[in-house]
């Protein structure tokens, strides 16, 4: 049965803070960093005002924030934090510790460019750099998806077949600081949906156990195998949780969104806020009779390889958008994965990559029009030798 929906207007940061308040986690340990600072402010206020029962730990760094979350989660507490950019970089060592110990901590990432040179604006260099850390990654086009993804992230990570930490990403400033309409759930419905956190085992359950001792050559490999198996199996749980959430809210999500893809000859693959701009341009070109579509990634880890290959199998040419470069000299991280996913196809689409929007460079209608036009040129020539491209950078 569908739950009652509350019409509101919130920024992306307010949406995350509201979701966290409604979840009422046992422990939140956080350190402020632009542009996620507001979430920490709001939550500290909720804790001070007694609006949540959470133990709020005002740590002295992000390294400590993640460490505190790991310790708390190991002791049976639902724990959460939020960060951006260099804050996520400072958590790096602990990201692997959380996933390696199978502790489903939740982390809201407000995407911001990594230094240097220092920049406070949006790109995906922070979370894309953490893509191989064993965390599930969900990406959000707007405040609504940030809110919804956050609520679902607990159910996904805490599921006994998964037990992996989850990061929910949205674009710093572009959505984190933009007021937009949003539909919220009532707190009682959120509580019912996320349920009580009751791990099978934890540090203080009365039966002595250790978490985090030296993992010898005899066992380490097996533990890594198990972590990989957990990620392999996560897709099924994610789909189940999406389905249940869809029944509750009427908002139906999939591993990725296919926008006007049925008969598309040219497609843009993109994630987060720029997917909205791509859809806007897609509509504009469709009105002129052009067969274009958008594939918006929502779940990036685990990577939905088979599904993406299938969705792109009928497309003539694909442009994969990366708001982060990984300096491999062969394109960005999303491109590498999407191209790899399509390798097994008998008739592979032509595929090129665009690095875009780094350090807050605005992503415009013209940028997306340029990308679709480039795909027309690629279809005409059949040549993708120049596959590693940039859009929106001056002088290129």
């Amino acid at each position: 049965m569908a739950a009652k929906s509350i019409r509101e207007r919130l920024s992306g940061n307010e949406a995350i803070a509201t979701a966290m308040k409604q979840v009422n986690p046992h422990v939140v340990a956080a350190y402020p960093i632009t542009p996620s600072t507001e979430v920490v402010h709001y939550f500290a206020q909720y804790a001070a005002d007694g609006e949540v029962d959470t133990e709020f730990v005002a740590v002295e760094s992000e390294h400590s924030a993640m460490s505190a979350c790991i310790g708390a989660q190991a002791a049976g507490a639902r724990s959460a934090t939020v960060t951006s950019a260099c804050g996520l970089a400072l958590m790096w060592e602990l990201l692997y510790v959380a996933s390696g110990h199978r502790l489903p901590v939740t982390l809201a990432v407000i995407n911001r460019a990594l230094s240097g040179p220092i920049n406070i604006n949006n790109d995906h260099s922070d979370s894309m750099g953490a893509r191989d850390s064993g965390w599930i990654q969900l990406y959000s086009e707007n405040n609504q998806e940030a809110y919804d993804n956050y609520l679902m992230s607990l159910r996904i990570g805490e599921h006994k077949d998964v037990l992996l930490p989850v990061m929910t990403c949205q674009d710093g400033f572009i959505t984190s600081h933009a007021i937009e309409n949003i539909e919220l759930l009532e707190t009682a419905d959120v509580q019912k949906f996320v349920g009580k956190y009751s791990p099978e085992r934890h540090l203080i359950d009365g039966k002595p156990m250790s978490v985090g001792p030296y993992d010898t050559v005899m066992y380490y490999f097996e533990h890594q195998y198990q972590r990989a198996q957990a990620m392999n199996g996560a897709k099924k749980v994610i789909l189940d949780v999406f389905k249940e959430f869809g029944e509750l809210t009427g908002r139906k999500y999939d591993l990725f969104e296919q926008y006007k893809m049925e008969d598309a000859e040219r497609a843009i693959v993109v994630l987060n806020s720029s997917a909205g701009t791509a859809k806007f341009v897609c509509d504009k070109l469709r009105a002129q009779g052009e067969k274009v579509g958008v594939l918006k990634l929502r779940v990036f880890r685990p990577f939905p390889m088979e599904e993406i290959a299938k969705a792109l199998s009928h497309v003539k040419a694909v442009a994969v958008m990366d708001k982060a470069d990984c300096f491999s000299a062969m394109g960005g991280p999303v491109f590498a994965d999407v191209r790899s996913a399509c390798y097994g196809l008998k008739d592979r689409p032509l595929m090129i990559n665009f690095i875009y929007g780094l350090g807050g460079r605005d992503v415009t209608i013209e940028n997306m029009e340029h990308v679709y036009a480039s795909l027309s040129e690629v279809i005409k020539t059949g040549n993708t030798d120049n596959f590693y491209r940039h859009v929106g950078v001056r002088g290129v």
């Binding site: 207007r9 406070i120 604006n121 086009e141 707007n142 674009d171 400033f173 572009i174 959505t175 600081h177 933009a178 007021i179 937009e180 309409n181 806020s273 720029s274 997917a275 909205g276 701009t277 859809k279 806007f280 807050g360 605005d362 992503v363 415009t364 209608i365």
Partner: protein
């Protein structure tokens, strides 16, 4: 899509252009609209030129870029006319609203040949008279742009802003009347 109104605000850091854009988003939301209100973050410091934006429409827009071809432009600080290309991309069917003592005819030479309607209002003096502070002109500018753009019904707008102010200044009720006066004067005194 044609029902979407796009507004660009130009101000200087500390003058409340961002706050005004968020207040407009609030009021439009209360009128049942889909809204976006967002600032463009450059180097944040007092006095630096800043830009903020509004999109107001009957359907949710998925567009997440800045606004390059606004229907309306609001200039909270007239000293920006010589520093920023405020009319850049502004639709000629639209209008620009400027906080200045000057008449529209007097400021036109500073608008790089803009062909659309030009409105002015001495919002800083109104702010001084009603709120005792020349730098609190954003409330008056909010009233002026709603009157010029007709993006929201005037009566409903006034009620919604009052509710919002009552919420914001629950502990300082005397501020509410003064701000409402500044807002109403913005709506009435803006001139073409």
């Amino acid at each position: 899509m044609s029902s979407m109104v796009e507004i660009r605000w130009h101000g200087r850091g500390g003058q409340g252009a961002k706050t005004a854009s968020l207040a407009l988003a609030d009021a439009a939301f209360e009128s049942g609209k889909y809204v976006q209100g967002f600032p463009e973050y450059g180097p944040e410091r007092m006095g630096a030129p800043i830009t903020a934006y509004n999109r107001i429409s009957d359907e949710r827009t998925s567009l997440h870029s800045n606004i390059y071809e606004p229907d309306f432009v609001v200039v909270v600080d007239a000293t920006l006319l010589d520093a920023v290309a405020v009319t850049s991309g502004l639709k000629k069917e639209g209008a620009i609203v400027i906080n200045t003592k000057k008449s529209p005819e007097e400021v036109k030479p500073q608008l790089e040949g803009y062909q659309g309607k030009v409105y002015t209002i001495d919002a800083s003096s109104i702010a001084e008279e009603e709120l005792g502070n020349r730098s609190l002109s954003n409330t008056t500018m909010l009233g002026a742009v709603v009157a010029v753009s007709k993006c929201l019904p005037a009566d409903k707008f006034l009620t919604d802003v009052k509710v919002s102010l009552e919420h914001k200044f629950a502990s300082k009720p005397h501020v509410i009347e003064k701000n409402m006066k500044a807002l109403e004067r913005g709506m009435k005194e803006v001139k073409a």
